[in-house]
Each structure stands twice: as C-alpha cells, then as structure tokens.
Symmetry: C2
C-alpha cells in the first residue's frame, strides 16, 4: 500500500483494489438496493511494489461484480462478460483461455485429506504459487510447511490432473467422494452453464487456479493469454463472507477485475493493439489570408456537426496547407478561395483519390458527410 497521514491526523491509503470498497458501499445501503446488485467501476489503483511486466505501480482496473445472488448462474455471467470483453478487444479462443477452479471444492478435498482449517489459507497460498516457482522449490516449501498434514507425493497426484473428469478419482485417493460431491457437482454445473452461453471453448478446468486473495470462497477463475505472457489477464471469483466480515448482511458476491496494463501487454504481444493514429475528416484551407475568418467559422461548424476538423495556425500558401492536410491524414481538404467564395462556393479535394470538385458552401454545411461519401 501507499499510505499517508493527512493534516487531520487520519491514516489514509491509496486504494490497491476495489472489492472491499464495493462491499463497504453496498453494506451502507444493503436494504435499499434492488437485487441482484450489478456493479461496474474503472478505478485507478496504486500498489507500492516494484514495477514489472503486466504490473505497474499505478493502473486502471475494470471491475464487474454481481452481489446478492447465490446461484452460480451469476458466476457464469461474470465469466461471460470477461470473455465477451476479450473477444471485443480482438482476442480469439485461440489466444486466451479462462481457467476455472473452485475454492470450496479444494477446501473439501484438502480438509478431507488432513489439512486443518487453520492450515488451509497457507495451503492455498502455496498452490497459487505452484506453477510460478520451480517444482523442486515448491516441493520443498510444501514439505516443510504442510508435509506433516499431507505428504507432497499425495498432493502431487491431485495437482497433476489435467481435466475435471480426472478430478473425482484423483480426489478419492485423498478422501471419501461424499466429502466433495456437492462442490464438484456445482463446478460441473458451472461448466454446463458456460457451454450453454456458447463460451465453453474458451473455458477450461485448472486445478492450480486458486487466487491469491483471501476472501474468495467458491468458484475462482483466471484468464491467460496463450503466448509468452504468463501473467493472468483477468482474475475473479465468488466471495461469500466478505460483506458480512465488513459488518454487513450475509450476502455473497462474485466478480472479476482486469487491468489496462495486462490487456495492453497481451495485445502488444499478439501485435493486435488498435491503431491510435488520428483520423481527420476535413482540413480547412484558405487560398488567401483574408479568408481566415471564414476558415475559423467553417471549422467551428464542422466540429459542432461532429466532424474531426482541423486547420493551419499559420497563414501559409495554399500548397503548404495542402501538404499539412496530407501529413495529418485528412480525408478531404476544404479550400476557400477568393473567387469561389464570392459565388458562395468552395472546393472539396479528396486527399486519397486526389479528385476535386466545386460545391456550394450552403449545401456542404447542410450535409458535410455527402462530401466524404461522394468522392
């Protein structure tokens, strides 16, 4: 955290994430809000950590949350929103995968295998890191911290599975099937809903997804680009206790966040960043400096009509202004000349086709888009 004390002696911090803030906001008005409570926000967040790829000290995070719905159809809808967003920014099912697991399922299995409730958070933190560190190091850490409750080899058999179909038999080597049957069915139902929503091909079970934050309790999910960027490009899950923990009613929620930084990184890696080149409809030019007031007038009218329009600050020869218009990628140059203006006319020059035509000023102002279309 970046934290500070203000002049009133209050201890303040710059927000590092939004979910607890959202929980407090909802708690303050819990009875007045119609449910389900669907919420989005795009906060600017700060984290006092070393900047690295996919992670800066300051970034924007897009948050989506659905609060007050226990049914996992809300989890499915959150995942749909994330997947639709990735598609909308240009990612295909070949470019990313939404990895899904369930904390409640993992709790049941690990508890059944001998890990006490007190040790569970520690186990989750380690499993969350399992694929980010060397296997030998993970083995050593697990053995030291949790090996007495659950030997590493028995855990490794569980973590080695690749699909939800293998989960039941692998888990049954650790504990009885009825210890986790309800949670497994819920997770399978979630995959069924995702398939109904038409996004099954973007989603996959992954036993390593457990999320770093402590407040998740149910299904958890993280999307990853399939290229070299190993960092998650979105993460979320269900939190059943957070609102109550922060003094509110027993109301569960599900949500996810994604940041401008990771999305930009993954799009850059795939060479699919959208163009930010400026697009100009019109560049208005005077053939003589005394026509400049009319240039200004026309520019203001075209802008007000919604057209990206620009002009030269300096009064320059016609050719020089035309050159600037081309450099600025304007689609059309609009030229005011001494003679034409006396007849209430102007010249429209299409800078792609180089075709030009004379047109009545009034007609042009009434329908500038015609000029963009015609030529």
């Amino acid at each position: 955290l970046f934290n500070l004390e203000d002049r009133g002696g209050r201890r303040l911090a710059i927000r590092p994430e939004m979910t607890p803030t959202l929980a407090r906001m909802i708690n303050a008005r819990a009875q007045a809000l119609p449910r389900p409570i669907k919420w989005f926000s795009v906060p600017r967040l700060c984290r006092a950590e070393r900047p690295q790829r996919g992670r800066l000290r300051e970034f924007f995070q897009w948050n989506i949350d659905i609060v007050g719905v226990d049914d996992i159809v809300a989890d499915a809808e959150c995942i749909l929103v994330a997947v639709d967003f990735f598609r909308e920014v240009g990612l295909t099912p070949q470019d990313f995968v939404m990895k899904i697991n369930s904390r409640s399922l993992m709790s049941r299995i690990l508890s059944g295998a001998g890990i006490s409730d007190e040790k569970l958070p520690e186990a989750f933190v380690l499993i969350d890191r399992a694929e980010k560190i060397e296997p030998d190091k993970f083995k050593a850490m697990w053995t030291e911290q949790l090996g007495q409750c659950l030997p590493y080899d028995r855990l490794a058999a569980l973590l080695g599975i690749d699909s939800i179909d293998e989960l039941e038999s692998a888990a049954k080597t650790l504990c009885p099937a009825d210890a986790f049957a309800a949670e497994l069915n819920q997770l399978k139902s979630l995959f069924g809903l995702l398939s109904d929503l038409g996004i099954g091909e973007c989603c996959a079970f992954d036993i390593h997804v457990i999320r770093g934050l402590a407040y998740y309790t149910g299904p958890v999910f993280e999307a990853f680009g399939k290229g070299g960027l190993s960092r998650a490009i979105c993460g979320g899950g269900r939190y059943d206790e957070l609102l109550k923990t922060l003094g509110g009613p027993a109301m569960s929620g599900v949500g996810f966040g994604t940041s401008d930084v990771v999305i930009q990184d993954v799009l850059k890696e795939l060479d699919r960043l959208p163009s930010t080149a400026s697009e100009l409809d019109f560049f208005v030019i005077d053939a003589a400096p005394e026509l400049f007031p009319q240039v200004l007038n026309l520019v203001a009218r075209l802008r007000r009509a919604g057209h990206a329009t620009d002009f030269s600050y300096r009064r320059q020869p016609l050719g020089k202004q035309l050159k600037t218009a081309s450099q600025r990628n304007a689609r059309c140059a609009v030229i005011l000349g001494d003679e034409t203006i006396q007849n209430g006319e102007l010249i429209i020059k299409n800078l792609e086709t180089r075709k030009q035509s004379t047109c009545l000023l009034d007609a042009f102002i009434a329908a500038p888009t015609e000029a963009l279309r015609d030529q």
Copy 2:
C-alpha cells in the same frame, strides 16, 4: 496536497493538477514532438481541502492544452473546445458565459499605475478574490497591502468597468495608453477570433478574471453558470514561462481544465442532468425451466451483437418474468416456449405497445434490430 513518504523514503504527493506534469512530460521530449502539441487528459486529482459545493477532495478534471504556439488563435481554439463541450452537455448561451481577460494587459496597466513587479502577484491574488469577498473587506485589504502603490479609489475606477470598450479610457487615467496598447489589441483580436468562430455570444470581457494560479501570463478565462452557482465551471489561460521554469525550452502553452464536479453541479441546478436509467433492448424469458439453457444461449448471442439484454436468474413462471422485464424497462420481451421452440420459433412482445408476434428464431438472431423496429 495529500503527500506521503514511500518505503524507499521518496517524498510523493497525489497530483492536485495536471499542467505542471504536462509541462514536465513535454520538456522530456520537447525536440521529438511535432508542433503544435495538442494534448488532452482526464486525470483523477486530489486536494487536501474542506469539501464544498463544486469542490471535492477527489475529482476528475478534463484538461486541454496546446503547446508551442504563440499565436492567440490557439487561445481561441481552447475557448472554442470549452464552449462546444458546454453546449454538448446541454448548456445554451443563456446558461453560461465565458469571461475573458488578459494578465499581460493587467500587468502593463498596474505596472504603469505604480505597482512594482514584486507586488504584482499580490495584486493579482487580491483582484482574483475581489468578487468573492465583501467590498469593504476588499477595500481594506487592498489599502493595507497595496494602497501605497495604487490608492483603492483609482483601482476601483478600473475594476468598475463593464466592457472592453471602456477599458482604454479607464486605464488611461492610470498610465499612458502606449504602456498597454499592444496587449489591449491582442485581447481585442482574441474577441475577433471568437466571433469568427461563432461563439462571440458566449464570451464576455471581465476585468475581474485573473486566475488564482501563478503561472498564467497572457489571456485568462473562466466560464460561469448564470444561475446561483458562483464557482467557475472551467478555467484556463496562457502560460509563457512554465516550461522554461521547469527546465525546458522557451515554449509557451495555453490550456484549460474543468471538473466532473462543477459540470454536474451546474447541470443539476438547471435540472438538465442526463438520465442514467438503464435501457434494455431485450429481456429473454423461458416458458418452462428446461428451456433455460436456450435462454442463456440467446442472451449471449444478443449481447455479442451489441444489444443490451438481460434475463431472470431464478426460474419463475412466465408472468413473473414478464413483470421483471417491464420493471427493467426492456423494450421487448423475447419468449421461448415449449411448442414454439419445436417449430424453431419464438415470441416477441413489445412492452410499450403490448403487441406480440411469432417469429423464426434464425431470422430473429440474424437481425434482432428488426424486432425492435417493426413493432
């Protein structure tokens, strides 16, 4: 300022405004940037002061700057952008006025009247506050701080003028006309350009506009709502020295800022806040719970096609889902029934006209907008 020391012992502050940051950014790349440099940003800013009407501790500010152009046509363009924005959010020339003055002009007149360069900043701070405090208090403060250089009565004659036409004769009582002729002509030219741009009726000279920030040097401007909200709804001006002061080249700039808070306040006062009611195109309903997977599938397709679409989380009777659709202001309910779906059909019910019709599922998916238009 909200300021803090981070773990590395660095002294940091949360940005209270953007212009000095912009100047530093431009200074870092001054030679590489093509000119004019036109820049906008929407930073979130924080000020450690008591929250009040039109002013919160945290707010968004929209900034527009044009750097590297000495010509006042850049000042005119900045003012055009501000005025166009106010019109776009629903303000008319009857609702607001852009008040304009010139710091360089005021400097010349006040210097000529006997105020030394060292005392000028103090004089500006007082004049900036003149209309915000009691006349008697202003008189007492001026007399105490600056009365020896320029007696209050002589200043009052200058501050009492209502138009730029009165300025020359009023100023000539304080100093020779050639002390300020160039600056007066520049300000008059600016009004000429604003008139060319078609926004003359929104702009007015106001000798009290001087701006609180020290870095302004040329024309300065502030927009005010004409209602009871006495706070400026935008403010800006020309800064000739700022980049150089911050270690950059001698390059001048002009810009303005406006905040979400003041714009919201003025629109609220005029009862012209835009509606934020949610607009829903389709609400998809199942006549039997076993059709829910098809509801989900249709919802996902409609959303991907860009239509605001929702559905009930709980499987409820048809009538109850229809009621929810109406409560949510959906334009159409899309009903999947056991019999219709077997024929590849669905029912579209327009919730305004209450008309309903049967339509082929494939045809609806191919062109959902037809359903919105037809009925």
